[in-house]
């Protein structure tokens, strides 16, 4: 069974904003990346999955349950990192995590481990925390109860590169452990390093949904260069990781996701 299943989901906010007839699914255990510029509809899609918005047409299901009608059952399995984080500003980090633990009614098995992993001191009041520290609290809150499905809306925003790396590692581990992951991002590297498939969303519709590998293949360019001698050819092949065949060297340039992305978007970002 698909862990996440979205069918013909539409939501028109007018002036070409919203999402239009989105259909896709994420099988259990897959990491799916959602890439798109600001205002493309990533967060709107996620809000539907979270049961914050009621589908105007179409439907979305998580673990076979309707995201709007049975949001409480859906939420049992979901860990969510919101794109815009607003906390109960009156609490400290640890008070907040304790509240979430009690409120959701599930023991936070991984809290300690995650706090250590992100070097987070949770005793500080939330309103005194920097953006990055708040982001860490949100990450811990989403993952501490070890949910089966992760919905992550730009989860590394505000984190420094070191912490971004730790987060990517964590997500890879989670995938190894069989979690289903939906990761929305505009960081190409993050998606490239964690996801199996990518949906490129533009103006509320998918411009492409494919595996990272296929996307790369489609945009693979290879060049064959002939050099004067075999020695030079071998050296050249070594330097540019090409395939040497006599004096001929074949080099493939794999486009980064960013370049592929710009291909689909034609450089400029439209509304």
């Amino acid at each position: 069974m698909d862990a996440v299943c979205v069918e013909h989901l539409s939501r028109d906010f007018g002036q070409n904003r919203g999402i239009f007839d989105l259909t896709f699914s994420i099988p259990e255990g897959e990491a799916f990346g959602l890439l798109g510029p600001n205002g493309a509809g990533k967060t709107t899609l996620i809000r539907h999955l979270m049961g914050f918005l009621r589908p105007k047409s179409g439907s979305c299901h998580i673990a076979g349950k309707d995201c709007w009608a049975h949001s409480d059952l859906v939420q049992k399995q979901v860990g969510y990192i919101p794109g815009e984080i607003a906390f109960f500003e009156d609490l400290s980090g640890i008070e907040f995590l304790r509240f979430i633990e009690n409120y959701r009614g599930v023991f936070a098995v991984r809290q300690k481990e995650l706090l250590e992993r992100f070097e987070l001191d949770p005793k500080v009041k939330l309103k005194r925390m920097s953006k990055g520290t708040k982001q860490k609290v949100a990450i811990v809150a989403a993952l501490m109860q070890d949910p089966q499905i992760l919905i992550l809306d730009e989860p590394t925003s505000g984190l420094d590169p070191l912490m971004q790396n730790r987060f990517v590692e964590l997500i890879r581990e989670e995938k190894e452990r069989g979690k289903t992951i939906l990761l929305s991002s505009h960081l190409f590297e993050e998606v490239e390093r964690t996801c199996d498939r990518v949906g490129m969303i533009r103006a509320g519709s998918f411009a492409a949904v494919d595996t990272i590998e296929t996307l790369r293949q489609r945009h693979l360019r290879s060049y064959t260069v002939t050099l004067e001698s075999e020695e030079k050819a071998q050296a050249f092949a070594r330097d540019f990781s090409g395939i040497c065949n006599g004096t001929c060297v074949t080099i493939s340039a794999r486009l980064s996701l960013e370049e592929i992305f710009m291909d689909y978007y034609g450089g400029g970002v439209e509304q």
Binding site: R47, M50, F52, L53, D72, Q75, K76, P82
Partner: protein, 265 residues
Amino acid sequence: MNKALFLREMKKSAKLLLLFAAVITLYVSCIIYLYDPETTEMLNRFVEVMPELMAAVGMGTIAGDLLEFMVSYLYGFILLIFPMLFCILRANGLIAKYVDGGAMLWLTAAPVKRRKIAFTQMTVLVCGILLLLIYTTALEFFIASLLFPGELMLRELLLVNLGLLAMHFFLGGICFFASCTFSDTRLSLAVGAGLPTLMFVFQMIANVGGNLRWIRFLSAFTLFDPTGLIAEKTGAAMGLIGLLLGGLLLYPAGIAVFCKKDLAI
């Protein structure tokens, strides 16, 4: 009901309750202390000299015994305004503020139905009103027994305060409904605070009398009639029941709206 949420919100209510309890303590003890035939005569002279102004703040009736005195000087203004302020502030903070600020996402992104969230918040509001009025009743009875033993009939006091409770239960319902309906705190406050305040102003205008007495039909405060309740009049009882029914309609309506609406959080 969600216990963790209930406890958190009751803790937040506590500060406001303490503040209002302190203000009410001050006024109630002062007013009861002032009760003595001579000052009553003085206050009555005020009423004779400037009947409109005194009537506007609900101090129109010429007071006889202690409870009537209290009805004149506490139940027309102080005990209407302060619990009403509590309703307005708390109701707005329980739903609309969380939606507007975005923190509602932590409550909805959890295996807790929206109905349960809203029901918990409603319970917090109603418990707050109940606590404030139980405190007020106990305080009134305590101070009256201390200063004027045997003057205050508990049964009559309870009847009046039951009416007051119904009044604030209804006002809380308006505030709660507004809080559930509007995702913008400004709108929630405009309706949740504006409507009760407007009705209170209407009540003040109607109390002055004259050509504008009809305006009392636009105010729910008309349904709270302490003097009628003491006399156990049917009309006053009907008013009380009306307020209770209104509240019983408004709270579930607020919950239903909250369950169905889109949350941009």
